[in-house]
């Protein structure tokens, strides 16, 4: 079933490379397809960022004219959100969640493959929009600017529809899988927290994305057919675009971070050798974030001219939503406390996540306050905040998850030495890039500008140098992940001695996962408990429990 070719690619059940290039319904193939494609877009989005940061070394750089610069930050944002982080987490979850649940595939395998393949036209249209130009209104595409930009904007909107449908179907698939396809004995309270996180993410995807879709349809029709939904000059309502857009896009940030929370909940107990603290707290807080996330959106609109009185409830909800996340942070800290820490690369990224996300969360609380937001809206303070939560948070967690599950997916371990190089370059480079931006924003440097007042230059130079370190730091990871496919240490079924169901299968797993459905009698966090010790002590037989 599992052939190991020493010194070569470890194949499972004779999968060929071509299996990964076609419409294949195996969740493991789809997961890898998602991961590879999304990572390619991470690089693309990163290159756009580097171009912008290089341009910003001098305050009045003529190299990137205003139009081009606008399109660059638009595509950077759109790509990083819709073609990197969301599909990357989807891919990782696709691979890992059915295994963690003891299932042999997702509930709707063909729909799953469709979800992946819908990304392809979406991505193609997005790239096309970049190259023909015109999508230059930010990933937020506010009217009236987005009504006036040229054709690339329409392509941008259509591309997001494809990507949106992809995420809706994917969310649907995960929810049915998690609800209906758990192994015998796996009650909801014995389910891995990653599954809870993905369930919460899926709820947001299903309920939020359609609203964006409606808004995008209205935008497209406004541009193409002249239906003046958002055109103020014709009596339309530009604020309605913002409301509909942010009604999705705020919950969308939880789509981007809840899977990260799930990964951290999986990784920390393993490398602290301790049961997770507050299982139910973490599970319930994930659901709380999913629902409450729909009630905060107008905090992106405090300076839009919306009814001033309406800002107060949104300020309150935006502060309250910090609470469930705070619950998680304390639970993870309590898990680490008194544990026997192993500083694997995965764990380093997980620990960095906790601290970086807290910083991002703190700047978020500042932004939630209307009086503060009025001064820092659309400044680099917001850029700092969003990158601390999305890069310092989500991307670090993504790497934690990749280093953790890479051995399960490929059968070999990533090199830990190069992993640490990757980690430190990323961690230091990231902070040098984005920490100064808090100051830049407070001092008044606006965001989304291709030229700026000269007094901001020193910190811009610092940020750019940091970004070079950050970008270079990604190279060791890329080389490591490819070279280790052939040269990495053979991982075996359970290199981390972890308790999840996925670690009872060979690495990589057989094509059809579990030959017989496993039975489960506890949650997968009982490190140090007698039952767990027994399980981990037994030699892991391929295909057995």
């Amino acid at each position: 079933m599992t052939e190991t070719v020493s010194g070569g690619l470890i194949r499972h059940g004779g999968r060929k490379v071509s299996d990964y290039l076609v419409f294949n319904t195996d969740h493991k193939v789809i997961g890898i397809q998602y991961l590879v494609v999304s990572f390619a877009f991470f690089i693309f989005g990163g290159l756009l960022a580097e171009a912008m940061r290089s341009h910003l070394l001098t305050p009045n750089n003529p190299i990137l004219g205003g139009e081009v610069y606008n399109e660059m930050f638009t595509i950077h944002g759109t790509v990083m959100i819709f073609l990197w982080i969301i599909p990357a987490f989807t891919g990782l979850a696709n691979y890992v969640v059915p295994l963690m649940l003891g299932a042999n595939d997702m509930a709707f395998p063909k729909l799953n493959a469709l979800s992946f393949w819908l990304l392809i036209p979406g991505a193609a249209l997005l790239l096309l929009s970049f190259f023909i130009g015109g999508a230059g209104s930010g990933w937020t595409a506010y009217a009236p600017l987005s009504l006036q930009t040229s054709n690339g904007q329409t392509l941008w909107a259509i591309s997001l529809q494809f990507i949106g449908f992809s995420t809706i179907f994917s969310g649907l698939n995960f929810l049915v899988t998690i609800f209906n396809m758990r192994a015998p004995g796996m009650t909801l309270t014995r389910m891995p927290l990653m599954a809870w996180a993905i369930a919460a993410t899926s709820i947001i995807q299903i309920l939020g994305t359609p609203v964006l879709s409606g808004a995008l349809f209205m935008l497209i029709l406004n541009r193409v057919l002249g239906t003046n939904f958002f055109a103020a000059s014709a009596g339309g309502d530009p604020l309605m675009w913002q409301n509909l857009f942010w009604f999705y896009s705020h919950p969308a940030v939880y789509i981007m971070v809840l899977p990260a929370f799930g990964i951290i909940s999986e990784v920390i107990p393993v490398f602290a050798r301790k049961p997770i603290f507050g299982y139910r707290l973490i599970a319930v807080s994930s659901m709380a974030i999913a629902i409450a996330g729909f009630l905060v959106w107008a905090h992106h609109m405090f300076t839009s001219g919306m009814d001033p009185l309406l800002r107060v409830p949104f300020m309150i909800t935006s502060m309250v939503i910090a609470i469930p996340t705070g619950v998680k942070i304390f639970s993870w800290l309590a898990t680490i406390w008194g544990g026997k820490l192993r500083f694997t690369t995965s764990n380093l990224f997980a620990l960095a996540f906790i601290s970086m996300f807290v910083i991002g969360g703190l700047s978020g609380i500042f932004l939630a306050s209307v009086p503060i937001d009025i001064h820092v809206q659309d400044t680099y303070f917001v850029v700092a905040h969003l990158h601390y939560v999305l890069f310092g948070g989500s991307v670090m967690a993504m790497f934690a998850g990749l280093y953790y599950w890479y051995p399960k997916i490929t059968g070999r371990l990533l090199d830990e030495g190069w992993g640490k190089v990757h980690f430190w370059m990323t961690f230091i480079g990231f902070n040098i890039t984005f920490l100064p931006m808090h100051v830049l924003g407070l001092e008044g440097m606006p965001r989304r500008v291709s030229s700026y007042a000269p007094e901001f230059q020193p910190l811009n130079i610092v940020a750019t140098l940091g970004s070079f370190l950050l970008a270079t730091g990604t190279l060791p990871f890329m080389v490591n992940s490819i070279v280790s496919l052939w040269r990495g240490k053979v991982a075996g079924a359970n290199p981390w001695r972890a308790l999840g169901l996925e670690w009872t299968l060979p690495s990589p797993p057989p094509i059809h996962n579990f030959p017989t459905p496993p039975t489960v009698d506890s949650d997968p966090y009982g490190y140090g408990e007698p039952k767990a010790r027994q399980r981990l002590a037994a030699p892991s037989a391929p295909g057995g429990n």
């Binding site: 709707f108 395998p109 698939n173 929810l175 609800f179 339309g236 309605m240």
Partner: protein, 194 residues
Amino acid sequence: MSEATPAVEHIGSEHVDNRKLGMWIFLASEVMLFSSLIAGFINMKARSPAGASDVLNVPLTAVNTFILIMSSTTVVMALAAIQDGDRKRLRNYLLATLLLGGMFFSIQMYEYRHLLGEGFTPWGSLFGAGFYTVTGFHGLHVLIGLGLCLALIVQAIQGKITAGEHMRVEVFGLYWHFVDVVWIVLFTIIYLLP
């Protein structure tokens, strides 16, 4: 519709069929899509002068509403038929649903053509923008439903739907009823409310 791994393979907290659960979740997402479009409509109507909706043909649309409600009834009768094992009545009720749904769609097209002829266009007024967008999307959903209904009729004739395996009829019914519910709401807020 049924390519899922067996729904009763593992013990969940409750036995619900994968496909039925999937359809209800899908309908939840459709609620959100139509809410977004309805919000657009309500906003556009509020920004329009009084009497903007006078151009609409209420009696004709009332009849159309009645037709759609009838089609909802025939589809649930089709489900009841196959639950009782009656494959012929299943086929007939599905045909009736297709016919009635087709009538609804045709009358909608007729009204669109008439309205456009009167100069009531999507680009000509805010109310027009809202009207055509939300009813247009509803019409699209009807069209898709007709396609699914046709596919079911073919399968029914081929004998693929039985008393023991007819989840696809129930799942289609859920979709069709939802399209009906959306219309019930749209009919009221577009045609009847002042």
